[in-house]
């Protein structure tokens, strides 16, 4: 079983690398595979020869590569946090977007931008690029705690309560965000619209480096909690009987998952459904074992979002489709499918 998990993860990593290569090659300035390899070899000092045009290298290094890397980071963040949140809530329908975590993060980010509060200015002074990510992280963390409180009862999530709580929080955060748009300047307004639709258009090396730690820490940390999440699937009491410190696991999962969601919302806005469908695909194809689903969701999420971004930026070129629209168009039907199959499972 462990060996099989290793092979599956390896294959997923290969899929991810392939999508990264394809995504790097396709675009307004086409780059062939051999040209791409030459650019990489030249710039890493492996080869002194230049088998590419300098414009291709400039596009690749300054535009396309940061964008691909950003897609990978955000896809990984959304995939892995979706898988972890589903494990924690003991429900395959829990998703950061659906249960209001993303909109909580959005609200905090928008508040920071529009109100240009003194604290935020000071935060930016101290933390630079990280300030917005941290604000979104706090927003995500607070909403997760509220939703968790609303939905948990006797160690079980009540799914209707969870989703209704999500609707309520989404509505509330939406209302406040809407209110803020009235106070926003034109430039701020454009930023807010970008949030509600989601886009990787803001990709640059500074945004990538601002996001990197917020994704790396959860991606490295969450797989260590996979065993505990498996035990939690049996129930909180049962997990405790098996030696799992449920309280600590809860805090760690919420902390790490909201860190990933918060930061990716801060950088790319609301990108829906990735966290829902990626773990579901893995569970359906292989196993529900979190030792596969957690790291696998990071890899597959990264691959899928990179691919979705490739489509988003090429399908209506030279214009660009907000990626959130695309993921919702793919994700919503899958969501409906999951609901129907869950329903059939409970009343055969």
């Amino acid at each position: 079983m462990i060996k099989k998990t290793g092979y599956i993860l390896l294959s997923l990593a290969i899929v991810l690398i392939l999508t990264m290569v394809i995504s790097s090659c396709v675009g307004a300035v086409p780059i062939s595979f051999s040209e791409l390899m030459s650019i990489i070899a030249y710039h890493t000092g492996l080869s002194g020869q230049q088998h590419f045009e300098s414009q291709q290298a400039a596009v690749f290094l300054n535009l396309r590569l940061p964008r691909v890397v950003l897609g990978v980071l955000i896809g990984a963040a959304l995939g892995i946090s979706g898988a972890a949140i589903q494990g924690l809530f003991r429900n395959p329908l829990a998703e950061p977007g659906l249960i209001g975590i993303s909109s909580g993060a959005t609200l905090f980010a928008v508040v920071m931008i529009v109100l240009e509060t003194k604290i935020f200015k000071e935060l930016t002074g101290v933390l630079g690029f990280y300030a917005l990510s941290i604000a979104a992280f706090i927003g995500a963390g607070l909403t997760t705690m509220v939703v968790y409180r609303i939905a948990m009862r006797n160690g079980k999530t009540i799914i209707t309560t969870l989703l209704l709580g999500g609707i309520a929080i989404n509505a509330m955060a939406g209302a406040f965000t809407g209110l803020l748009t009235y106070m926003a300047t034109d430039a701020q307004l454009r930023n807010i619209t970008f949030w509600s639709l989601g886009s990787l258009g803001g990709a640059s090396w500074p945004t990538v480096s601002a996001l990197l730690p917020f994704v790396l820490i959860p991606v490295i940390g969450l797989p260590f909690l996979a065993k505990s999440l498996n035990a939690l699937a049996l129930g909180e009491a049962q997990a405790m009987h098996m030696g799992v410190n449920v309280k600590v696991v809860k805090i760690l999962v919420i902390g790490l998952a909201t860190m990933a969601v918060g930061a990716s919302v801060a950088v790319a806005g609301m990108i829906a459904f990735i966290g829902l469908i990626i773990p579901h695909i893995l569970r359906m194809m292989f196993t529900a074992d979190h030792r596969l689903v957690i790291p696998g969701s990071a890899l597959l999420g990264a691959a899928l979002l990179t691919l979705a971004d490739l489509i988003a930026r090429t399908v209506v070129a030279p214009a660009e489709l907000p990626i959130g629209i695309l993921t919702a168009m793919i994700g919503a039907p899958v969501f409906i499918y999951i609901i129907i199959s869950e329903r059939n499972k409970s009343n055969p």
Binding site: Q86, R90, A233, L234, G235, T287
Partner: protein, 260 residues
């Protein structure tokens, strides 16, 4: 070896358990009987450390329950709870392997896999190993859970096993199988504490029986000592008749005819 002394648990002013003391020994199956609300489940939760007692002490193998690290406790006692629903479905062998979680960090060893195989053999679920847990019948699911619990303490000879109404909702064959397994585990040296509803099952399989009423002990002892009309009437508020049964030294309990 479990020692319980002056154990009380209060919710507000209401005492769910009231100064309960008893011992459970290695190699012994102790059955706990009582009406609904007698405090059986509360006792089980306190024994499992799901809740803290209001007063009194519990020690397992001469160490206070609260002094155990959770991981060490998991190697010292295993629990089969009443409700075992899975939020996402697992393969049977994966689920049984969860019993080994306290014993390995990230990767299970060959020893862990061997124990999983043996626990599955013992509970007669080897043929179900690659099945999806959620597609099994209630009786099969219960045996899978029991295999998981056995795997957890398989290599800890002094361990305790807590079974909370393990035969609930099962048909007669499965009830019998589960109780025979519990018996076998006690014979192997484990200290087994089992909440039961069926008095005859208790007297047939248990070494000792403890009867609870309103958080207090009504009777405790060998089945033959405690199974009598008075104790049962005291515990369950019902009138019963005892019938001698060939091959058993403890009489069968049957409801008495209702006299109008």
């Amino acid at each position: 070896m479990i020692k319980v002394r002056e154990l009380s648990f209060k919710v507000g002013e209401k005492k769910l358990l009231d100064g309960l003391s008893f011992d459970a020994h290695p190699g012994e199956l102790l059955a706990i009987l009582g009406a609904n609300g007698a405090g059986k489940s509360t006792l089980m939760k306190l024994l499992c450390r799901e809740m803290r007692p209001s007063s009194g002490t519990i020690t397992i193998n001469d160490k206070a329950l609260m002094d155990y690290r959770l991981e060490d406790l998991a190697k010292t006692r295993a629990v089969l709870s009443q409700h075992n629903t899975l939020s996402v479905s697992f393969q049977v062998s994966e689920l049984v392997l969860m019993g080994r979680y306290p014993h390995f960090k990230q990767k299970p060893t060959e020893e862990d896999f061997r124990i999983v195989r043996e626990a599955m053999e013992e509970t007669g679920i080897t043929h179900l190993a690659s099945r999806d847990y959620n597609t099994l019948s209630g009786g099969e699911q219960q045996r899978v859970q029991l295999a998981r619990v056995i795997a957890q303490i398989y290599d800890s000879p002094n361990a305790c096993l807590f079974l909370d109404e393990p035969t609930n909702g099962l048909d007669l064959l499965y009830q019998q199988q589960i109780m025979e397994l519990a018996r076998k585990l006690a014979d192997r040296g484990y200290c087994v504490v089992c909440i039961l509803h069926d008095i005859n099952f208790a007297s047939r399989f248990a070494d000792r029986i403890m009867m609870l009423k309103q958080g207090k002990k009504v009777a405790e002892g060998l089945p033959i000592e405690v199974i009598n009309c008075e104790n049962i009437h005291e515990t369950f508020s019902i009138k019963v008749k005892l019938m001698a049964c060939e091959g058993y030294n403890c009489p069968l309990v049957v409801p008495a005819t209702i006299l109008k």
